[in-house]
């Protein structure tokens, strides 16, 4: 039987990692750093979660490890793009490739297996049967909106993404704010990782969710709440594929075709909306002090 309550909760659980990834993207890109490395940061986070939790027997240490593992790659992205002024997409791509190899290497070192870890029993507590971390993305999105609109930090971060030269001319430390934006995107990627599937690390387990998160961020027009809601659209689209057999209308369609649904949806959304959204004006622009 199709249980709507169960469906809604599962959907929330599946939406959460995408939403955290999207929020991470919002922080980074609001500061003007294009972050396609979210995927790699999430993947790194998933490994570090399992490793941290399994080694210490504590899920919370696992969460901290996940955040550290993601922030480590975020820092690399920051150093490469902000300090060394490399093109953001090039750096992001490199980090995604690095994360794929690094996690396999570390898994081999830590657990003697390359493509998956042993099962990890130390997972975050569940509420209503789902990961407790899945309940926080909407509050965090609302917090983000408040932070951007009302605080000095938010105002300055936005100014760095819109016109870093103007911000610099007013004495705003542009490099610092950009770093903070990127590092926070790592923190959110770590949250995404700890929400995704904390029971085990499996090679390439993020399966493009970092990219879907970016699609959600763009669909949400770089606004935290809208990005979170767009993530739910993608999350629930994926959830549908798991409930396919219980839904009369969908049960006759090939499961393989159904599994492509979230990705196809992402493509359509991007094709239809990408021209209409407004990225921060200096998003992806390499900023150099004293140049205009």
């Amino acid at each position: 039987m199709f249980n709507i309550w169960y469906f809604l909760l599962r959907g929330l659980q599946i939406s959460a990692p995408i939403a955290y990834g999207a929020l991470g993207g919002v922080y980074s890109e609001t500061g003007g750093v294009v972050n396609i490395a979210i995927e790699g940061m999430m993947l790194s986070g998933t490994f570090f979660y399992v490793w941290g939790a399994k080694t210490t027997g504590n899920w919370f240490i696992g969460l901290l490890a996940a955040i550290l593992g993601s922030v480590l790659l975020a820092l690399i992205h920051g150093v490469v793009t902000i300090t060394f002024k490399v093109d953001h997409v090039v750096s992001g791509t490199a980090i995604n490739i690095l994360a794929a190899g690094l996690t396999r290497f570390l898994c081999m070192q830590a657990f003697g297996m390359e493509t998956q870890s042993p099962v990890n029993p130390y997972v975050p507590p569940t509420v209503f049967g789902i990961n407790v971390l899945a309940f926080f993305f909407i509050p965090l999105a609302l917090f983000t909106i408040w932070l951007f609109k009302r605080t000095r930090f938010g105002l300055r971060l936005r100014s760095c993404g819109q016109n870093p030269w103007a911000a610099d001319s007013l004495g705003v430390n542009v490099y610092m704010y950009k770093y903070i934006g990127v590092i926070l995107s790592g923190v959110f990627a770590g949250l995404a990782a700890a929400t995704l599937y904390p029971n085990q690390w499996i090679d390439a387990m993020t399966a493009g969710r970092g990219y879907i998160a970016l699609a959600a961020m763009i669909f949400g027009n770089y606004n935290a709440l809208n990005a979170a809601l767009a993530s739910m659209l993608f999350g629930y689209a994926e959830t549908l594929t798991y409930f396919q057999e219980q839904i009369p209308l969908l049960s006759n369609i090939s499961p393989i075709l159904i599994k492509t649904f979230p990705y196809v949806l992402a493509l359509i959304v991007l094709a239809g909306f990408i021209g209409k959204t407004k990225a921060p004006k200096a998003d992806g622009v390499v900023f150099e002090k004293g140049e205009d």
Binding site: L155, S159, L170, G171
Partner: protein, 516 residues
Amino acid sequence: MVNSDTANEKIPLIELKGITKLFPGVVANDDVTLSLFPGEIHALVGENGAGKTTLMKILYGEYKPDKGEILVKGKPVRITGPAEAVALGIGMVHQHFMLVPGLSVLENIVLGSEPVSGGTVDAKSAREKIEKIMQENAMPVELDVDVDSLPVGLQQRVEILKLLYRGAETLILDEPTAVLTPQETEELFKTLETLKAQGRGIIFISHKLDEVVAIADRITVIRRGKVIGEMPVQEANRQKIAEMMVGKPVLLQVPVPEVEVGEDLLVLKDVTLVEGGVKKLDGLSFHVRAGEIYGIAGVEGNGQEELLQVVSGEIFPSSGDVLLCSVQVCGQRITKIGPLGRRKIGIGHIPADRQKQGLFVNMPLYVNAAVGWQWKDEFQHHGIIDYKAMREKAASIIQQFDVRTPSVDVPANALSGGNQQKFIVGREISFDPSVLIAAYPTRGVDVGATEFIYRQIIDEKVRGKAILLVSADLEEILALSDRIGVIYRGKIIKEFSREEATPEQIGLYMLGVKEE
């Protein structure tokens, strides 16, 4: 408010002593000394690349000087960044505004100096403070709109409010009138007089000599990084300043000979362009005759860019027609012909942005000699490029149009802006088009090169060509045009003949105050 007592003291607000700044291969500032007193407007004039902006960026902390000393109110200081400059009471309005789109006017004003209470930006006290400043200086602006939605004149006002909000006593204005209409310029000058009366000091960078003479108390001329002279405004006149800037006698007014006009060569009929649901051009019509320069005046963003694209063929209008009469064709409807096709039938184009559209900046000059005209038989034989012919072409443009370059092999970006522009003008003219589009032909070009380019354009008119001139510089339009069309919201709302055109009249139409 600045204490009025300071206005009477004779300690300068700012003293720059022996400032030298080296960039790789260039001495941008060479032992420059400059002072600014309270209640004074000090104009800093010089050609593009003379080092005015560099000097001001040093004062504002954006560049570090290699040598020299800065004194603020008699005390030596080290200014390591804009934040220090602001703390010392120095503020700068950059030539390209430093506003943050997507942020409100209020947010732009407080950015970097936000009042904070309880962890959040205290918008209420900021608003009170700004409203007080706006009232004292008669500079009202709406605070809650996106700064990007304001017209240029108001954006500049926001820039000045930013400085006053930070309590600046020294205001540096870099080419503040370059983007303003005559009316807006007048408003600005009123504001500057008010600020001066409060005892603030203003450094006014410009190369518009009329304005300098009108507003400044003292004038310093720099050329190639060096101070050439300093004088009180009473001793200055335009001719003298221009010669000091260029280093040789200059003709400020290029004579425009009377030419008998012929038939219509370029006609736009009721051209409308809708982009993204917005009418960028709205039933725009005009015609340019043989032997005539037709100038388009208007505040930036009223459809000039789209008009240029429609005439060059980069975009096709949603409705209406473009007609051409040239050596090759006559009376032909060219509405749906692209840029290459239009060049082939006699339209030459000096594009608005030489770096983006006029040149391949990283490619050698000889390649750039054929850009836009590469299809010509002289440059290729059965699809094989004839580089020798291109080199010859480049050499002849360089020689004929006085382009200063070490050789035809250097990349285009090795040339100064003025020489790049002369090269483009030379290239377009040398292919002998019947209609010449001249978009912002002297933007960012120094006085000497400007005079040269004006002469070339006038020669084309004498040869019976039709010239469409689009420019943000009203002086330029008045100096060259036989007829002037004022563009406002995508429409030519008024045409003037040379005799009846005055800057004030045109300005009123530019702002849409008057409409036919």
